[in-house]
Amino acid sequence: MPVFDTLSLASLPQADEAIRPAIRAIAAEAAAATGADRRARSWQGYDPAFSRRLGEAGFLGLTLPEHYGGHGRGPFARFVVVEELLGIGAPVAAHWIADRQSAPLILNFGNEAQREFYLPRIARGEIFFCIGMSEPGSGSDLASVRTRAERTESGWRVNGQKIWTSGAPHCDYMIALLRTSGSAEDRHAGLSQLIIDLKAPGVTIRPIRDLAGDEHFAEVFFEDVDLPADALIGNEGDGWKQVTAELAFERSGPERIYSSVVLLDAWVRHLQAVGRDDPATLALVGDFTARLGVLRAMSIACTARLAAGESPVTEASLVKDLGTAFEQQLPVAIGDDLAAHPDQAVDAELYRTLLYVTHVAPSFSLRGGTREILRGIIARGMGLR
């Protein structure tokens, strides 16, 4: 009998496909008159007004229950919405983390008061979240985090530092993985997740400029930051378990295959405009098309596991690793192709798009878990170790 048979062809239900035209219209508005090099930023593109517009139109908090301001839809509906937003490169950074993983985390592990406070605001696109995982000494070895939250009479006091926190300069809250007991040697034990109000006294955020000139991630310092008792989300000491479940949401979506798709489309339009149809070009276009089609089907297969109520950690890792390899090969191959035809002028926008994606492509297999970590998870899923 087949191995790894949890991933099998699935299709998007008609009811979820039905929302495509509406989200497409809104995404097209946001993308209109925006150059491909800007649209290629997509989930690094910050536009809070657009996020609120999505909230008003009912496209945030899709998977949340209606009594928390959500729309009671499943992961398939979210797949359709995300696909439409990323396919055209709409600026989704503001609400991205809150909608994708903070809201499900609060729904799954938060108490009633936390759900009632945060979830409706997330669904309206009013509050934005970032994830506090990496620290200067903790990257892939996430269990070694040292930033601490100590119990006080009124709640918690946080000291330490996070880094590479995407969106921190624009966000209202961070859900941070912190050490609440023991030391780094205790590894997975003694870690908890806390919601930190980034406007609280003692929080300092320093943006970090990236190689493309953007400032989407930041250093975040905590100096005697006092938090109320209800900042703790889930159970004290369960932080590792909760983060693992959260990462399945983070890793399983179509964002792991579409990071370079704006470039792919710009290149295809270039080929169509210059009328190039030699066998090598056709083979390259065909290869990308076949891989995109299969990756999309794999991503839907993974979404089907989420829809079945599972936490497809291994499956999500598998799709993400294959997807990011594709995303990274696109700019390399497209760059070679364009520069192999110096007689066919490349317009400035396509050139900027190509170099932007080329420069940021290394991040595709870093964010949300490095290639090497993901492959370790897959190997464990195969029974190795």
Partner: protein, 315 residues
């Protein structure tokens, strides 16, 4: 998952163990194996119910084809299922599939063990008796066949999209099945084989390669399922996607399986070669990845839609 998979797989597992596969590859008698499969009724899986078949959708038969690959079944069982569905009056015995032009030698998978070949030649389907030369490749069941002129035994027009497209989708499913077996064998071996005082499966360098193997294996399966999602005559985009992905992955999968197994994997007595030889043969049969990529690329460049819309709607 198909309810027919388990009984089908149980049958071929008992009828076609590795010893039988080797014996038939060595030129031994295949009649008993064929009769066993024929008696099961599965050869008419795709034949419409009104013609006495099971009328299963292609999507369901996809799982059976993968099982054939998983057990290296040494007869054209999938090909015969296709031929029996396409022909109103199919002859008994194994039928291979081929698409050829005048005078061009074609390597026909299972040509050595087929009684007939369903051939697409000049836009027509012909049913000819199987005759050709051995390829001279060790263990191969394929045969080299040449038709210099259109055969007289025309049985109808070529199916929409061509016989090669259906054959390519079958080939992708067989590759997916063999990939499945290869991945399981390689993971098991990595957990058993001890070097430097521990199973080699504990080495990170090896785990990283094995993870890629699992990715390729799952991609092959999904690609085959995409190819089989529609009717028996798959569209160009579906057939091209299935075979492009499966053929590209086939060579990588075989390479990693051999790298992990070391020298034992090269030996005749070890089962690995039954699967890796097939992966390479099926990669080339019915068009390699570049053959299908060119066709798919031409279709894509002739279409004004965005890439995501294209794969969503055309696939």
């Amino acid at each position: 998952m198909s309810e027919f998979l388990e009984p089908f797989e149980r049958m071929i597992e008992s009828l076609s163990p590795p010893a039988t596969v080797r014996a038939i590859e060595a030129g031994g008698e295949a009649g008993a194996l064929w009769n066993g499969i024929a008696e099961s009724g599965f050869l008419d899986a795709l034949v419409p119910e009104e013609r006495g078949g099971a009328g299963l959708p292609l999507a369901e038969v996809c799982a059976l084809w993968q099982a054939l690959g998983r057990h290296a079944v040494p007869l054209p069982v999938g090909e015969t299922m296709i031929a029996r569905a396409l022909l109103a009056d199919a002859p008994d015995g194994p039928i291979a599939l081929a698409s050829a032009g005048p005078g061009a030698a074609t390597v026909v998978p299972f040509g050595r063990v087929a009684r007939h070949v369903l051939l697409e030649f000049g836009g027509r389907l012909c049913l000819v008796e199987a005759s050709g030369e051995e390829t001279g490749v060790a263990g191969s069941l394929a045969a080299r066949m040449i038709w210099n002129a259109a055969p007289a035994e025309v049985v109808g027009a070529a199916p929409d999209g061509g016989l090669r497209a259906i054959a390519a989708v079958l080939r992708a499913a067989l590759i997916a099945g063999a990939a499945d077996r290869l991945t399981a064998m390689t993971a098991a071996y990595a957990n058993e084989r001890v070097q430097f005082g521990k199973p080699i499966g504990k080495q990170q360098a090896l785990q990283q390669q094995m993870a890629v193997m699992a990715e390729d294996m799952v991609a092959c399966r999904i690609a085959a399922q995409l190819g089989c999602a529609g009717a028996l005559q798959p569209g160009l985009v579906a057939a091209a996607t299935a075979k492009s992905i499966a053929s590209t992955a086939a060579a990588r999968l075989a390479a990693t399986a051999h790298a992990v197994h070391g020298a034992i994997g090269i030996s005749e007595e070890y089962d690995l070669q039954l699967y890796t030889r097939r992966l390479h043969e099926w990669r080339l049969a019915d068009g390699s990845e570049t053959y299908w990529n060119r066709l798919l690329g031409a279709a894509r460049l002739g279409d004004a839609r965005g890439s995501v819309d294209y794969v969503r709607e055309a696939l």
